[in-house]
């Protein structure tokens, strides 16, 4: 089971930190967690991938599901600090062209 930390910044942005392998086994947990955040009214979410050692397409799919929900709620989902290995998954699916990874969590919602 993957461990996912969540905390809220004073500006209302929710920061989600998956630690370990965000793969097909963890995808549903991630999806459900994002859905709960949205239900609680956090429509601005940053997923910090700094401590995510592995991402597969199912994990990426869960993030897209959360993105859909966030946009529908008038907010957005941003990703930050992917490792080079994780970034490869974005490139393989061309997701890097539509969803730009941010360099750090703090400024993920700037500009």
């Amino acid at each position: 089971m993957i461990e996912i930390d969540v905390f809220r910044r004073p500006d209302g942005v929710a920061v989600v930190v998956p630690q370990g392998r965000l793969n097909m086994v963890a995808a549903r947990q991630m999806k459900d967690l994002l859905a709960i955040l949205l239900e609680e009214g956090s429509s601005r979410i940053v997923v910090d991938l700094d401590r995510t050692t592995f991402l597969d397409s199912s994990g990426l799919g869960a993030l897209i599901g959360g993105l859909k929900g966030a946009r529908q709620a008038g907010g957005d989902l941003r990703i930050a600090r992917p490792t080079p290995e994780v970034l490869t998954v974005f490139q393989l699916t061309n997701m890097d062209k539509v969803l730009r990874p941010r360099d750090d969590v703090e400024s993920a919602f700037d500009a």
């Binding site: 549903r28 397409s57 199912s58 957005d76 699916t93 890097d96 062209k97």
Partner: protein, 658 residues
């Protein structure tokens, strides 16, 4: 190279040389132009058959008869999916219990698209998982089996998926015999044969496909183009999900580009109808136009799409808020159209990229109140934005462009660089249709699905496929054109026997010396490739079902290009099975047979009264007899009264038993 492959390649080369020699000679030296109305169709039909034969030869060139599979690695996680919609509970449960008994550790799921309480109860009682569509699918296009599988994919988590139709009962060793292939990390899919237990030895409905589930798949496999056939296949989840995510990224991009383009037109239209005194609105439109231009420039510069749309949406929302008081009356009328726009994106069978450009154009042409224009721009951008409105799930791994999701999905997987394998061992026992109407409906569906893919995603222009892969997919589509050739092969001998019209210039030695060796070598290729598998039934049906193949082209054309329902003009199944033979369903074939027979009678009369040449008449009668032998199968099919279980079926081809 094995002796067998050497022999096959030798025959393939001979077939190609003799075939090209014959058809080139036909075009250049022997078309009877005066009788062009039959001569030209015949030479075209012959060219068609030659290309068919060359494509078959290309597949056989790399015939890949895989050895025993590598041993299945331990500790992989597998989900077994049994897709059902309305099949009888007992039939589904028989398959499900067999699936449960598969030896390799796995989880079994019944994917119940019918959402039946009694199905659920039966599954739960047996300790089998039951999945039905999630709430996301309410009021969304359902996409039949592809939708059913896409839904289940997001509710399970195994590394591999075994896909089974409700009437394909798996053997306990099915996973042990297939998972080993996935040790190759690039392997996305392993397909095994579909073989049916309820079919007598003489297979009157042509249910078994021993040539397809055998040499044809093995040939495609040699070019890394083994097909996914919807059931009895194991798939790597990561490959499917990667396909789903990359399709999503691609379609969102196309959709947003298109929407931004239309948004520009909408604003221009609104501007024209503006009262020049309404400065507030003019300013708002100016702002939106500016933001629109900036969005387009940013996209062109390669700024990430979601950043561009997010900023643009926020800007438009802000402008709109400022403007809300500006125009309330005209807004009412526009709201209806905006709602219509949202509905449009929910049109079944359309991905974002297929959002109808004509409809978008019509939106742009409408008279807009200024605030309405702002609303519409926003609706347009939202409609094609990340949330993929109009689809239940943003990620749709199994292709929804065709009624047969398997072929399109497999082609896209190959396009992403994944591999597939065909393992020629019967690992499931299926049930085939037992009556003519069901069989005809099923064949029509398969053909329609294939033709839909050809029209929507023509393999010949898929740049990410190798040329051999493109030709392997195209070859299957090409084979369905045989319906048109069949008509010519019926008409030509009838024209000669009844009117004395010869489509070739002369039935000369030149003609026979080119034709006969080609025909013989072509049959020899079949014979060697089949290696004892029956091929005659398949050859019969490829011509005898000519009305089905033709209908598949016309209906798929109407569906893809004219937006018609696929069932447009399809004969509905009526009445019970016991009504007797359904001659009405094979009327075209009966008419063809009557014409052929009448041709022979007239030909003999003409010969008797000295109006026809003996050799020409004899040659054409031989041709007619061949045609009748081909078509005779459809009579047997109509008379077939279902499988008698007293007769045990032949041992399955290939596999553990051979």
């Amino acid at each position: 190279m094995s002796k067998r492959l050497l022999l096959i390649r030798t025959i393939v080369v001979l077939t190609a040389v003799l075939g090209v020699n014959y058809v080139a000679w036909r075009w250049l030296h022997s078309v009877h132009w005066a009788a062009w109305w039959i001569a030209v169709p015949l030479v075209i039909a012959e060219t068609y058959s030659l290309i068919d034969s060359l494509l078959f030869g290309l597949a056989m060139w790399r015939l890949k008869e895989r050895d025993d599979p590598p041993p299945a690695p331990p500790d992989r996680t597998v989900d077994v999916f049994i897709a059902t919609y309305n099949e009888p509970i007992e039939l589904v449960m028989a398959t499900a219990r067999a699936a449960q008994a598969i030896r390799y550790p796995h989880e079994t799921w019944i994917l119940d698209d019918g959402n039946r309480p009694e199905m659920r109860a039966a599954a739960e009682e047996a300790g089998i998982g039951w999945i039905t569509r999630s709430a996301d699918w309410a009021n969304m296009p359902r996409h039949a089996k592809a939708g059913n599988l896409n839904n289940a994919l997001l509710q399970t988590e195994g590394e591999f998926l075994l896909i089974l139709d409700a009437d394909q009962v798996p053997l306990p060793e099915i996973l042990d015999r297939t998972l080993g292939f996935f040790e190759d990390e690039q392997m996305a899919l392993v397909q095994t044969p579909q073989w049916f237990v309820n079919v007598p030895d003489d297979d009157p409905l042509g249910s078994q496909a021993p040539l397809f589930y055998g040499p044809i798949q093995q040939g495609k496999d040699g070019w890394n183009a083994a097909f996914f056939c919807g059931s009895n296949a194991v798939i790597r989840r990561e490959a499917l999900m990667q396909l789903g995510v990359s399709r999503y990224a691609g379609e969102v991009e196309v959709g947003v580009q298109r929407a931004l383009k239309t948004a520009g037109t909408v604003i221009a239209e609104a501007r024209e109808q503006l009262d020049p005194d309404d400065e507030r609105v003019i300013r708002a439109l100016d702002q939106i136009e500016y933001d629109l231009g900036r969005a387009k420039r940013e996209l062109a510069r390669g700024v990430a799409l979601f950043d561009v749309t997010y900023k643009f949406q926020k800007r438009v929302a802000a402008i709109r808020r400022d403007l809300v008081e500006a125009d309330l009356t005209a807004l009412q009328a526009d709201l209806a159209v905006i709602a219509e726009l949202e509905e449009m994106t929910g049109e079944p069978g359309s991905g974002l990229a297929t959002l109808n450009p004509v409809a978008l154009e019509q939106m742009a042409q409408r008279d807009w109140s200024p605030l309405g224009a702002v609303e519409t721009v926003q609706a347009l951008v939202e409609a094609v934005d990340v949330d993929r409105a109009g689809e239940a799930q943003p990620i749709m791994p199994l292709a929804t462009i065709s009624v047969t999701e398997d072929m399109a999905t497999c082609m896209r997987l190959h396009g992403l660089g994944w591999k597939s394998a065909y393992h020629d061992e019967v690992l499931a026992h299926g049930l085939a249709p037992e009556d003519l109407p069901t069989m005809l409906t099923q064949r029509l569906r398969w053909a329609q699905g294939t033709v839909q893919v050809m029209f929507r995603e023509n393999p010949l222009v898929q740049r990410r496929l190798t040329w051999a892969q493109r030709l392997m997919y195209f070859g299957t589509m090409w084979s369905y054109l045989s319906g048109f050739a069949a008509i010519v092969y019926i008409a030509a001998p009838v024209a000669y026997l009844t009117m004395g019209i010869l489509p070739v210039q002369a039935l000369s030695t030149d003609f026979f010396v080119r034709l006969v060796p080609f025909l013989i070598i072509n049959q020899l290729l079949f014979f060697v490739v089949a290696a004892g598998r029956p091929t005659w039934r398949g050859q019969q049906y490829s011509l005898a079902l000519f009305p089905v193949w033709i209908k598949s082209f016309t209906s798929a054309f109407g569906n893809v290009f004219l937006g018609r329902d696929l069932d447009f003009a399809v004969t509905r199944k009526t009445g019970a099975l016991d009504e007797g033979p359904r001659w009405d369903l094979i009327k075209p074939q009966l008419i063809a047979m009557a014409a052929l027979t009448a041709g022979v009678v007239v030909g003999l009369v003409r010969l008797a009264v000295g109006q026809a040449a003996a050799f020409g008449t004899l040659f054409n009668i031989v041709w007619v007899v061949f045609d009748l032998a081909i078509f005779s199968v459809i009579i047997r099919a109509a008379l077939y009264r279902g499988f008698n279980p007293g007769v045990s079926p032949e041992t399955p081809h290939g596999g553990a038993s051979s």
